[in-house]
Structures are given as structure tokens and as C-alpha cells.
């Protein structure tokens, strides 16, 4: 049994374990008893449980040092472009004083507990995953190697140092490669409290070493899910209900079966699978299917919007409260109220959903571009009835994740299809099916009331959030409290507001919802920062000053905001014909401030974005810069174009022609400043997303006086 206990980072025992390496060498596993490692990740997401990441370590790696001195580090998390295959091994290698050129990063298969929690969501791989466990693993290994060398040389271990994969004894001029020491080191006990480096000693952490897989990605050799090739495999796609939540009523597959290359048409739980000799035949077969679907859900976007507004008229569940908002609002010098709104968003990962499965009598093998390796393995076990040990799950490269791949619906398609056809099958969704069978970022609204006092300082704020929780179509809701994700970014606001209430009105509209890069703040920060700007402008205040005075209690946030204002010389103001606006967030342990500069003379154009970020101790500066710049693209895409509309229960958009993406020609010039400090590592992959939308609408207001309270931006 794995014991559940609370994390005490200063006193961990047994966190690094010795293993026996086939072929010799030193094998260490980082192994914590954790709450999360209690069992495999559930096949079906529990959005509340997933939120409780803080309760345990999520170890991430196995470390093997071979007799050749070559080092392998297994990464339990999934890489979707955020670079964990590089950054997690860097943490181990730094404490180990390894020669980075001799380190090989390996993607781990799914395992119920070997790698701890493998779910890769919430910008957690470093901050709630690898940081301390991986440092300790590297440090423990280093200490064992030093002890082995010191014993061999009969010198005190304290006189030895390590560098680039060698133990060195200066006084005697002796040195040995790690590879020569692993035999002796493997016989030693694992130190319980290895000495960790002082951050000033870091040699790799915080640098910009080449990422481990760039070469693969520029030569077309990186294997994504869709690139998996298994001997004798078939190709399939799945036609799904055109109405959300619909089920198959009738099927005529005669034309589909005539399509050259089509082998079979079968019903699976999510729709109709067309199995063929190649992907194109499967796609053509699916197009030739005649299906009708039965569904109860028939709402349209305008009704959903009205429904949210009506919910705001009723009562909300309080998520956060301070002071006396009613009195403070009444006493305000300036009183404002406004409704803000955001739409459903699709993830539109660059690689459409796909999965390859091979189910046999006594085993099941799955290849998946998944953020949820353990859930994938569990789906395989549940559907086949096989014990979990007989389900092998390989994690491929992911062509984007954005939270979409935390779900396992596409895995289920592949496993079911393989079971039915008795062969290895790759299921690839068309872009159209991908866009119409997503779990969308929820459409929601916030009704704000706010007031400033005689000094023009924010004195009261009330925010009523109305929208569905995540996983709203997954079954009966668990309780009716304030959904943590729905109010995230608003209930968590860091501005000093003496009188504050945030409450939540739950919508049960049956449009599937799920994690979407940065989750709650993706919409809530737009709404909050837009309204804050309105209050500042209404009080005749500079929006920068207005915010800064509310941040005395949060010096890091204040610093980031000051920094970004210096980057663009806020005080000097924009060039003629341009406007500038601010957006600010603290999200998943990262603090990000952005200023956008826009013009509207030739249609809206975002020319420049300045971005300052404090994500605590960073691991790889190039990845952080890329994640922040990429987050701006994600956020700007949503602000300018992003909208999934529902028409009588059907998703209207289907592909990039009607669900547009930011392109090179729209790309603003982005300048990123990373605040360097030694605070605990924070999230990097998501907090850059929320601030850009408010920065842009606030810039539009500064330039034109037009206040936009709804996304995507539609200029009057």
C-alpha cells in the first residue's frame, strides 16, 4: 500500500531508490509516496481532484548512469511543445553535475505509479512535479559517485568535487569518469538528505541549452501520434453526431462500403467508425455515410448567452468575500456596472485527435498523443477487461495539447475499433470532427459592479460569474458550490480591494466543456482587467497608476507591472495614431503583465506587445521565452477570432476557414522580459495567455474611447 501523507519538503525519506539496472550501471528511481500516485489516473477526468495537485509530489523520472558514463533520464510527463523532455532532465543533470552532451532524454510509457502523476496539465510539470524530486535524485546520485571515488582513492569525500560527469580530487590530481564509478556507487546506500546546490551554483538550470528534439522536428523525424506505424495496421476515422450529445438513430453505409480501400464500417460508442487501408479512404468512406442522429440538446448561442444573463439575476454561490460591498458601492464617488462575456472556444490542436491501438487476447498496446498517459492506460484496461499491467501505453509527441489531450475520448475510439476489427488500428479524426467534438472553453459572463472613492481608488468590486463548470456533460454535477475553475482568475484576484464579493451562478447548458490553455483566467482575466480599466478611466486615473496602488501587498506583481511599463516607456505614451493598454495576471504560479499597442485606422492591428513575467526560478530561458510569446499568440487568436457558435445544438465552425488562427502577417512584434529570481518555480505554459486580450481591448479604448466587453473583438 502506498501511504498518503502530507508533503514536508525538508524531510523526505526514501524519495530516491536504488534499482537494479539490466546491463549494469547505476539506476535510481525517484519515488515518493504521494496522494496522486495512489492509483492510476482515472480514465474519466475528475476536474476537482485534478485541481488538488498541491497535496503531493509528482515524481517524474528514472535516472540511469551506464558504465560508459552515458546518462538516461526518463520523463513521465508529456511533451506538447512546452519542452519537458529538455527541462526536466536539465534539473537532474544540473544537481548531478553531468555532462549535458551525454544525457539522453527518454519518454516514459504510462505506469500506474512508477513515475508518479503523469497527467500533464495546469503548468505543473516543474512547479508541482519535478523541481525538488528531480534535484534530489541528481544530488543523491552525485553524492554516491563522490563517495565511491573518495573510498577508492582513500581521501575524504569533502575534498572531492564534481564537474562535467567526473569526480575530481584536486590535491592528488586524480579524477574519474562517472561511468567508472557506477559499479561501486550502486553498492552504496542512497543518501537521505543529499546536499542540494545553492542556486548560485546552477550550471544548466536557467540557461538556454539546445533542446533535445529540435533536430528531430526540423527533419520530419519526430513521431507524433498520427505518425505511428505498426505492421499490418488499418486506418480509421469516426463519424460522430452532428448535434452535441446525440446518438445514432439510423445508418446507411452502403455507399461508404463502395469506396475503394474501405474495409469495414462498424458502430462504436461514440459514432460510426470507417476502417480502411489508408486514412483517405476512411475519410471518403465517412463522407459517404448516411446517418441520422437523435439528440435532446437544441440550444443556440444567443439563447445560451441570454441564459447566462438570466442566471445573473438570481442568486450566486459566494466564492470570495471581504468587507461590505453593498455599503461601499453606495458610498462610491464613481459607480459603474457592466456585463462582460466570452464565447466557447475550441482547442484546435495542430494535430487532430488520433490514437493507435492494438488489442489482442492477452494484451493491449496503445500509442497516443496524450496529456493523460495513465488515463489512457486505464481506458485500455477498462474497455478490454485486461489487467492494467497488460496494457502498454506509449506517449508520442503531441501536436499541441492545450488541455484537449487530457481527455481520453479519442483513445476510446481506437481501442474499441481495434477490438472490433481484431487488428492494429489508427483512428484519426478529420479536422471537422475534431472541431465539432471538442470539450470547449466555457462560454461565460461576468456582471460587475464597482466603485471608486473620492481619491479615485478602487473601493468596492462585485463580480458575478455565470457559466458552466468544466466537465458539465460528464454526468451529474458534484455539488453546487462555486466551481473553482469557473471563478479562477477572478476569485483569486490579487488587487487590494477592501470590499469585494465574487459569486458564481452555475449553468447546466449541455455543451461539453474542458481544460483550455490557462483555463478560468483565459476568459476571467479579460473580463476583470477590462472592467478595472473602465474604473480607472472613469475615475480619470492613469490605468497603470490605478493598478500599482492596489498592489502594495504583492511586490512581485507590482514589480512585473512596473517592469513592463518601463519596457515600453509607458509615461511617454504611444506614437501618434496608436493606443496602449495593460493586462495583468497571476495564474498557476506565474505573474505576467502585458502591454499591447494597437492602431485602428486600417482595421484593428496589434503592432507591438511588451511582456514581463515572473515565473520564479526558471529552468530553460529559451523555453520560457517561447512559451510566453506563444501564449500571446494563443490569447490574441482568441481575442481577435476565437468563437465557437452553437446553432440548434450543432457546432457551426468546422475548420480553419471559419475558426481562424493568427497568422504570420498578424504577428505583432513581441518583446519578452523574464524577471530572474530564486523564488519557487511557477507555471510558464499558461499564465502568458490571459493578459493579452484585455491589453488589446484596453488599448482600443485608450485610442478610440470604444469599450469592448465581449470577445472576440468586433469593432463598431
Amino acid at each position: 500500500m502506498i501511504k498518503i501523507r502530507k508533503l514536508d519538503p525538508m524531510n523526505r525519506r526514501d524519495f530516491v531508490k536504488l534499482g537494479s539496472a539490466a546491463g549494469g550501471g547505476l539506476l535510481l528511481s525517484v519515488s515518493f509516496p504521494t496522494k496522486s500516485a495512489r492509483a492510476a489516473e482515472p480514465a474519466h477526468l475528475d476536474f476537482d481532484a485534478v485541481d488538488m495537485l498541491g497535496d503531493g509530489f509528482q515524481p517524474n523520472a528514472f535516472l540511469h548512469i551506464a558504465e560508459t558514463g552515458n546518462i538516461e533520464i526518463w520523463v513521465g510527463r508529456a511533451d506538447m511543445g512546452q519542452g519537458v523532455r529538455t527541462s526536466l532532465p536539465m534539473i537532474v543533470a544540473d544537481e548531478l553535475d553531468a555532462d549535458w552532451n551525454r544525457v539522453t532524454s527518454r519518454q516514459a510509457d504510462a505506469h500506474p505509479d512508477k513515475y508518479g502523476r503523469q497527467m500533464t496539465v495546469g503548468s505543473t510539470s516543474v512547479r508541482r512535479g519535478g523541481w525538488m524530486p528531480l534535484r534530489r535524485a541528481g544530488a543523491a546520485a552525485r553524492e554516491m559517485l563522490v563517495t565511491a571515488a573518495a573510498t577508492q582513492w582513500a581521501v575524504p569525500a569533502s575534498e572531492c568535487r564534481t564537474e562535467m560527469g567526473r569526480v575530481i580530487h584536486n590535491a592528488s590530481g586524480r579524477s574519474a569518469d562517472y561511468g567508472a564509478l557506477v559499479g561501486a556507487a550502486a553498492a552504496l546506500p542512497v543518501p537521505e538528505e543529499p546536499r542540494l546546490k545553492d542556486p548560485s551554483e546552477f550550471a544548466l538550470i536557467g540557461t538556454d541549452v539546445p533542446q533535445v528534439d529540435t533536430q528531430l522536428k526540423v527533419t520530419g523525424q519526430a513521431t507524433f501520434g498520427i505518425d505511428v506505424r505498426v505492421p499490418d495496421m488499418l486506418f480509421a476515422t469516426v463519424l460522430k453526431s452532428t448535434v452535441l450529445g446525440g446518438s445514432l438513430e439510423s445508418l446507411d453505409d452502403s455507399a461508404a462500403r463502395e469506396v475503394p480501400g474501405v474495409r469495414d464500417v462498424i458502430k462504436i460508442s461514440s459514432g460510426v467508425a470507417v476502417v480502411a487501408d489508408h486514412t483517405w479512404a476512411a475519410f471518403e468512406g465517412a463522407r459517404a455515410l448516411e446517418c441520422s442522429w437523435q439528440a435532446d440538446f437544441a440550444m443556440s448561442s444567443s439563447e445560451i448567452s441570454t441564459h447566462n444573463a438570466r442566471l445573473c439575476e438570481g442568486d450566486g454561490v459566494v466564492a470570495r468575500e471581504a468587507g461590505d460591498v453593498g455599503t461601499a458601492l453606495a458610498a462610491g464617488t464613481q459607480r459603474l456596472e457592466a456585463d462582460y462575456e466570452v464565447p466557447y472556444l475550441a482547442h484546435a490542436t495542430m494535430e487532430p485527435m488520433n490514437c493507435t491501438a492494438h488489442v489482442e487476447a492477452d494484451r493491449c498496446e496503445i500509442w497516443a498523443p496524450t496529456q493523460n498517459p495513465q488515463g489512457t492506460q486505464r481506458v485500455g484496461a477498462e474497455l478490454t477487461g485486461l489487467p492494467i499491467e497488460q496494457v502498454t501505453t506509449h506517449v508520442t509527441y503531441l501536436g499541441c495539447g492545450w488541455g484537449r489531450r487530457s481527455r481520453t475520448d479519442f483513445v476510446q475510439d481506437a481501442v474499441e475499433t481495434s477490438m472490433k476489427v481484431g487488428a492494429p488500428v489508427q483512428v484519426v479524426w478529420t479536422r471537422e470532427e475534431d472541431m465539432r467534438n471538442d470539450q470547449y472553453r466555457p462560454a461565460s459572463m461576468i456582471r460587475f459592479h464597482g466603485a471608486t472613492d473620492a481619491n479615485g481608488r478602487l473601493s468596492a468590486l462585485s463580480a458575478r460569474v455565470a457559466g458552466p463548470p468544466l466537465g458539465v456533460t460528464d454526468g451529474p454535477s458534484r455539488g453546487d458550490g462555486a466551481d473553482r475553475n469557473a471563478v479562477d482568475g477572478i476569485a483569486t484576484l490579487l488587487y487590494d480591494v477592501p470590499n469585494l464579493v465574487v459569486d458564481y451562478c452555475r449553468s447546466n447548458v449541455q455543451v461539453p466543456t474542458g481544460y483550455w490553455r490557462s483555463v478560468g483566467p483565459s476568459g476571467n482575466t479579460f473580463m476583470l482587467e477590462g472592467f478595472i480599466d473602465e474604473l480607472a478611466q472613469g475615475a480619470g486615473r492613469d490605468p497603470l497608476e490605478f493598478r500599482l496602488e492596489l498592489l502594495d501587498g504583492h511586490p512581485r506583481m507590482k514589480h512585473v507591472l512596473q517592469k513592463v511599463s518601463e519596457m515600453c516607456d509607458w509615461a511617454a505614451g504611444p506614437p501618434k495614431g496608436r493606443g496602449r493598454g495593460i493586462g495583468l495576471v497571476e495564474d498557476k504560479g506565474g505573474i505576467v503583465a502585458q502591454i499591447a499597442e494597437v492602431s485602428v485606422a486600417d482595421g484593428l492591428r496589434v503592432h507591438r506587445v511588451w511582456c514581463a513575467a515572473d515565473c520564479g526560478q526558471i529552468i530553460h530561458s529559451g523555453i520560457v521565452d517561447a512559451q510566453l510569446t506563444g501564449s500571446i499568440v494563443t490569447g490574441l487568436t482568441a481575442a481577435l477570432y476565437g468563437e465557437i457558435t452553437i446553432d440548434e445544438g450543432k457546432v457551426v465552425q468546422s475548420n480553419f476557414h471559419d475558426y481562424e488562427m493568427l497568422r504570420m502577417s498578424d504577428m505583432p512584434e513581441v518583446e519578452v522580459h523574464i524577471v530572474r529570481n530564486r523564488e519557487e518555480p511557477g507555471g510558464v505554459g499558461e499564465p502568458g495567455v490571459p493578459p493579452i486580450a484585455p491589453a488589446v481591448v484596453n488599448a482600443i479604448f485608450a485610442l478610440t474611447g470604444q469599450r469592448l466587453r465581449k470577445l472576440p473583438i468586433r469593432m463598431a
Binding site: 529540435t214 533536430q215 522536428k217 526540423v218 495542430m350 499541441c400 499568440v633 502577417s665
Partner: protein, 152 residues
């Protein structure tokens, strides 16, 4: 069904396919060249970009019957060892994030530089805006194209 002879990355391939089959799926599912990606299937994203006699085309909407004798070049054939100037520049600038769109980006960039040895930002916008990068690597793509132009 008909027989087609294709020249892909310098090698002849005999393929049995329907005339309307897109080159993309011939490459991926028949020839085994999976570096060329599927993103949209309707000439919207550029993930499937390959060269036909050096011209960048969207292979997802290029029917096999229209290829004829033209030489098909995919990411696997851009160089034998990743040494094409755009590939080297991409590595130096550490362009890829998830990497899924990058074969298409590289093929589009290589075709651009073939015609225009030192493109301006506007010319880069013009040539590269058919390629979507959902991860948002555009800024580094631009830098890498300028670098490749300079370093040849």
C-alpha cells in the same frame, strides 16, 4: 484505381490509387513519409506543404493524378542530414515548439529563399501566411528565415 509513377525525393515510386487521392495521403500512408502532416485537408493550414519541382503546394488538395512527372520533395528530402540552410537556421533559433507544423513551415521557407535570397519582412509575411503555427512560433520563424538568408 490507376497506376501512378511518382518521383519523390529522388526515388521512383509506383503507386496504385484512385485519381482523386491527395498526394498527402499517398506520401503518408503508401510511401511511409510521415514528415508531411495533416492539419486541415482544405488548403488552410500549410502543415502538408511539399514542393513540386521546387514550388510549394498543399499536398492535401493536390490530387495524385495532377502530379505527373514533377519531382516531389518532402521534408525528408529537403536534405539528407538536416543541413539545408533553413534547417540549420531553425536549429540555431530553436524555432519548434510542438513541432507539428514545422515541416510545412520549413518547406514554405525553403521555397521562398529559393526564389528570393534575402526576403523582406513583408515578403516573408506574404510567403509564410499560408502556414498556421498554433504554438505561435512566428517570431522565431521570421528570425530563422533572415538567418538562413544571411548564412546561406
Amino acid at each position: 484505381m490507376a497506376k501512378f509513377t511518382l518521383r519523390i525525393n529522388g526515388t521512383r515510386h509506383e503507386v496504385d490509387a484512385t485519381e482523386t487521392m491527395p498526394l498527402l495521403w499517398v506520401l503518408r500512408d503508401f510511401v511511409g513519409l510521415t514528415g508531411t502532416k495533416y492539419g486541415c485537408g482544405r488548403s488552410q493550414c500549410g502543415a502538408c506543404t511539399v514542393h513540386l519541382d521546387g514550388e510549394p503546394v498543399r499536398s492535401c488538395t493536390t490530387r495524385i493524378s495532377t502530379v505527373g512527372a514533377r519531382e516531389v520533395t518532402t521534408i525528408e528530402g529537403l536534405s539528407s542530414d538536416g543541413s539545408h540552410p533553413v534547417q540549420r537556421a531553425w536549429v540555431t533559433e530553436q524555432v519548434p515548439q510542438c513541432g507539428y507544423c514545422q515541416s510545412g513551415q520549413l518547406m514554405a521557407a525553403a521555397a521562398l529563399l529559393d526564389k528570393n535570397a534575402s526576403p523582406t519582412d513583408a515578403e516573408i509575411d506574404e510567403a509564410m501566411s499560408r502556414n498556421i503555427c498554433r504554438c505561435g512560433t512566428y517570431q522565431r520563424v521570421r528570425k530563422a528565415i533572415h538567418r538562413a538568408a544571411k548564412e546561406g
